[in-house]
Amino acid sequence: MINQFGSFSLYFSLLCSSYLIYKSFISQTTINKRLSENVFSVLSVQLVLTLISFFSLIYAFVISDFSNITVYNNSHTLKPLFYKISGAWGNHEGSLLLWLLVLTVFLYVFFITTKKLNIKYRLLTIFFQQIIIFGFLVFIIFTSNPFLNIFPVPEEGLGLNPILQDPALAIHPPLLYVGYVGTSLIFSSSLATLVCGTINKTWASHIKKWILISWIFLSVGILLGSIWAYYELGWGGFWFWDPVENVSLMPWLCLTALLHTIIVLKNRNLFHSWTIILSITTFSLSMSGTFLVRSGILNSIHTFANDPTRGIFILTFLFILIVISVFIFFFNQKNIPDNLKKTYLISKETGILINNWFMMFFLSVVLIGTAYPIFLEVINDSKISVGPPFYHKLMVPFLIPFLFFMAIGPRTKWIKDKVMKFNLSQIILFVICLLISYFITSITNTKYLFSLLLFSLSFYLFFNVIRSFSLKNSTLSQKVSHLGFSLFILSILLNGILSKEISSNMKVGDEINFMNKKITFENIKIEDGANFKTLIGNFKLYDKSQVTDFNPEIRIYNQPETITSEADISSSLYLDNFLVFSLLKNDGYFNVRYQYKPLMFWIWFSIIIMSLGAVISFLKKNEK
């Protein structure tokens, strides 16, 4: 019953979408007030319909209605309620419905917050956004309908992959999707403003809010995914250069570039075409991210079992969207104002341009590393993977100049500045940073020119950002975000050189010695959890006079039958001790892995600070 509700709402929503595409297209020339009210009511109806279908899916999950195939495949009566609900978007069909919901909500919010803007611009934004919504609706209804029935109705569902039964992963997809979908609105709005010929300061300050929102959600979404991978997969790192991670990083890099460019457009009325190109690219990357993750094309160790045929649709749709946008871009060149304004080499504009170059470089590296294996497989059928060494080798050397420009860039003024900014105090500061780095690299035995420079520049950036809080040359949000980034780089570097790990096969009673520490395997006990049995190991870590207990778990789920390891992490501000064990074979041996990870907290926290900067900028009215 509820299934039919959900399904029909999708069909009606498709009707609304078709109507809006038609209406907004023909009426952008003849505008009157009544029409805009008309569009508004259809938009509201569409929003309500999408909400109905989304909540009927959640309802079906909550009551475990196994006549619904999606529920049957991904749920189980014994699952905790929280994971029944999050199970609604933990699968392909449901996650697309969530995409659709966010698309609709964003467009609605856009419509009610832009009442003061040009009507033609608003209608065109609706037009482009509705094309995207239409495409997604068709995709959902015809290839991945979440409301298909199964008969006879099964007694019990197949259950949700236990590894996904985790609070961080329950909210990770919605956050990431808000970020992804936010870029769709930026895309629609840039095309609309291009057609209207209104790429100017007003548009820039209006769209900047949307860029900020997407950026914040994307950052926090990636952060949560990363934290989840850290403790749930038991690899003990925060980033693995896995294709699935890379596809979320690519739109982030592009969006970060856009976030900087839009500031130039807003303040100096420059970089018009570049802004539009970046908006189109960001959205294409978000779409292809969804496509690559969901199609099973990516050869990833993260990959979930899924259906490759669906990929063709998204790929075609994405291709059409890109072609349309490129056409619009070229046929509306006359609407792009000429950059006749005089620009100088030493100015904030140049600084931001340099930032964009680096972002584009990092983006191309990630893009090639992710896409190359796919192409190679198509071309000569060989199967390859591109690992972390590739990315490190290409990105880390470029971080050195990047950090340097980031340190001096924000201090320059708009329009024109003097070279004299490089005065004695800066040189002294740099020498101090060199000394600190020399000290750090000597005591940790990582004394290479490379790491020395990397450290010095990170410190140089850090101190420059700290100092900038007392100066008045840029906004508070910029300072906070850059502070977050400099802390991020510093914590990554320190974490990278100070991390240690050991793994060993142990029986109860065994002990291992590692870095003046002793780890003993005390005992093991079996307990019952909500929907799993669990083996709880008891380990003791003797570090000088200090004894820490670790109780990692091995959980055995039976619906579906899966074993997961839950790491036990003792976290403090400076240090994470990470211990995880897993089953090997039933002869008493367990595989135990201990990791010593300094500053993990700061890696996570620095991203929060970066996002906080964006939040400050978002909340501020009419900043200069």
Partner: protein
């Protein structure tokens, strides 16, 4: 001569071109060195010479083949046609079991012996690495 604008534009285009060439060169060079090929036990058997580079191998863990002691782990990877012995010393992911798919990264010692540096995790109990699926269905 040409106007200032044209000069500026030409300079810009040359700059973009040079950096594009440079990036491509860097990327391709580094790709060559850091790409890891995937091979099935059958492909390894048919190799004309043993690769010195890091590779990935994949297949099913043979039944009753896992041997554990406190130092390391030995098991046999099979694609139901050919087999290879893998020895490994390190952390093992959760879904590593006999008669399940596995992907290991490391170095070939000879055609029958592989020294793994890493065993890769999977998220899904039904998931089989695409390469493994293909390797098995080809045989």
């Amino acid at each position: 001569m040409y106007g200032k604008k044209v000069k500026l534009r030409a300079f810009f285009i040359i700059l973009v071109f040079i950096s594009a060439v440079l990036i491509t060169f860097l990327v391709i060079n580094s790709l060559k060195e850091n790409v890891v090929y995937f091979k099935s036990p059958t492909e390894i058997k048919n190799l004309t010479q043993i690769d010195k580079n890091k590779i990935r191998i994949g297949g099913m863990v043979k039944k009753n083949s896992i041997e554990v002691n406190s130092e390391n782990l030995k098991f046999i990877v099979t694609d139901f046609k050919n087999e290879i012995i893998v020895s490994y010393n390190g952390a093992v992911p959760n879904l590593f079991e006999e008669e399940k798919g596995v992907v290991a990264e490391g170095y070939l010692q000879d055609r029958k012996f592989f020294k793994a540096e890493k065993i890769l995790a999977k998220h899904d109990e039904n998931y089989m690495p695409p390469e493994v699926k293909e390797a098995i269905s080809n045989n």
